[in-house]
């Protein structure tokens, strides 16, 4: 895992470009825009600063692997994969067309997608299996799994959390996209998760909290985690806002999913540019 140097402004431009492509997907048939904008800063950071893009393209055995377990946020991942050149930006035009595999959940026919997802509570067990595989192959890489907080309702996730601790899978890093919302309700109103950090700690994991939209905080957390010698799996609980970046959408349950017309698209693009210049 390496940390590249980058300029904060460049990063903000990078994310804004990605978000514009997500908006385009929301116009071309709709996507889970709220979820995508919630974790897109983290995804953008991983692909622009941590991952070796050439290794991912060539699928080398020692590449870092990302599993987007909250698969419905995939529009954000498609946009990031296009932004770093793992897939072409032209390919995004195929979104939801029958002859390509860019639909509402990830499919491994898309370069950069390591495993399909969509059904909640699978991705971490897949990631645990991959972490075992790396250990068996003596490969020094990292397996990153992005979980939704609503997804933590699934018992299978907690099985994985127990097992990863039991086997000291220190090559496994989970990022919880903690936007405090699940499909219809606030997490704390339905099935409260707090104190989530204590829960992970109690299960033996190394834990960190970060602001999932603050690039400096994200970078600090990933640096801290890569320097952490604890022989345990680790989790970054990234506090996020669903629909982050467009005030109208932020923490608004109406914008978990978005399906926009041309006019709305233009308007939201303008807002993104405005918000970016504010930073």
């Amino acid at each position: 895992m390496k940390n590249k140097n980058f300029e904060e402004n460049d990063f903000n431009d990078f994310v804004t470009s990605c978000k514009k492509n997500v908006l385009k997907m929301a116009k071309n048939g709709g996507c889970f825009i709220g979820s995508a904008f919630s974790c897109i800063d983290i995804l953008a950071y991983l692909y622009s600063n941590i991952f070796d893009i050439e290794k991912i393209k060539k699928k080398t055995l020692d590449r870092d692997i990302l599993i987007l377990s909250k698969g419905h946020a995939v529009a954000g991942l498609y946009a990031v994969l296009a932004q770093v050149g793992i897939i072409s930006k032209d390919r995004l035009e195929n979104y939801l067309t029958i002859h390509d595999d860019l639909y509402w959940h990830p499919n491994p026919n898309i370069p950069g997608i390591e495993f399909h997802s969509g059904s909640m509570g699978h991705g971490l067990s897949i990631g645990v299996g991959m972490a075992f595989a790396s250990k068996l192959s003596k490969i020094d890489n990292k397996i990153f799994v992005v979980l939704g907080d609503g997804e933590l309702n699934e018992g299978s996730v907690w099985e994985s959390i127990l097992i990863a601790n039991a086997y000291n899978l220190d090559n496994l890093i989970v990022i919880v996209d903690r936007n405090f919302r699940q499909a219809n309700l606030k997490t704390e109103e339905l099935i409260p998760l707090e104190s989530l950090q204590d829960k992970f700690s109690a299960f033996g994991w190394g834990t960190l909290l970060c602001n999932g939209h603050d690039i400096n905080d994200i970078q600090k957390s990933f640096k801290e985690i890569s320097n952490n010698a604890l022989h345990k799996p680790k989790v970054i609980i990234a506090n996020t806002v669903r629909g982050n970046g467009i005030p109208l959408m932020e923490d608004n349950s109406k914008f978990w999913f978005g399906n926009f017309n041309e006019k709305e698209l233009e308007e939201f693009n303008k807002i993104l540019d405005m918000e970016n210049t504010k930073k």
């Binding site: 390591e114 699978h122 991959m130």
Partner: protein, 305 residues
Amino acid sequence: MIKMEPYELKLLSMIEKDKKIVLLTAENRVSLRNIPEKLNQNFIDVGISEQNLIGIGAGLAKLGFLPIMHGMSAFLTMRAFEFIRTDLGYPSLPSVLVGTFNGLSATANGTANGPTHQAIEDIALMRLVPNMTVVAPSDLTETLEILDNLSKLNGPLYIRDSNFESMSIKRDPFVWGKNECIVKGDNVAILSYGTMLDICLKVSEKLSEKSFSHAVYNMRFLKPIDKDVLSEIFKNFEKIFVVEDHISIGALGSIIKEFAWENNKDNKIFFINLRESFFRPGNFEDAIQNTELASGKIYGKIINS
């Protein structure tokens, strides 16, 4: 000095040759008791969590390992069904599921467990999974033969492992994907697999004593089904008895009905199975006597047909 069982020895020798084979279990060690102390890394016990057993196996398989996942058939195929279907079936990952204690499992008196542990719909479920191969060996010899053929897999395999002993019967050399005729004869064909094959061979002995001509087929490969053998059976036998320790839906009985309908066959077919019910738990002999699958009852149905 530990006495290793043949199944364990086979797995160890496979791993010695191929370090990409990983044994996993959801704390079902009945056929793997001596494995942990012989293996360091290629054995993973995930504890009582069948969903993760499959998810972890899928992660390993995706990165080029061959996971052999063990569990009790009921929990393996039902608790983890969606993981099997979605994470192994859809991507067609070469992988092996070894289910123990299924149907009227005689081994270790498996019939005593009661309804929670009864796997009487496992074949139906595994047949539903895309790209899945389903095989129900009748004894240890067949199970070991199956393990010798894992390089042929291009998707997941479900082994309905029911009998940890070898039967002393004469049989043709094992051929992957092929079912076999064990007793040759005319008029009546008895089709079975797994635990029930042994029972059917007892029925066969009694029928032979009465000079009642019949054949017995071992229908171990249930998906994909061996159509050559089915064509032979429908061509040569007026009456076909399908005997299985499974509910009436979705297993061999259904396969035979589908084949007959697709091929316009009007042979007389009799189905002997668990119908749609759980069986009463108890010692194996008592449990089987309480079902339609007792050898005496099967014999009576055939001889009076």
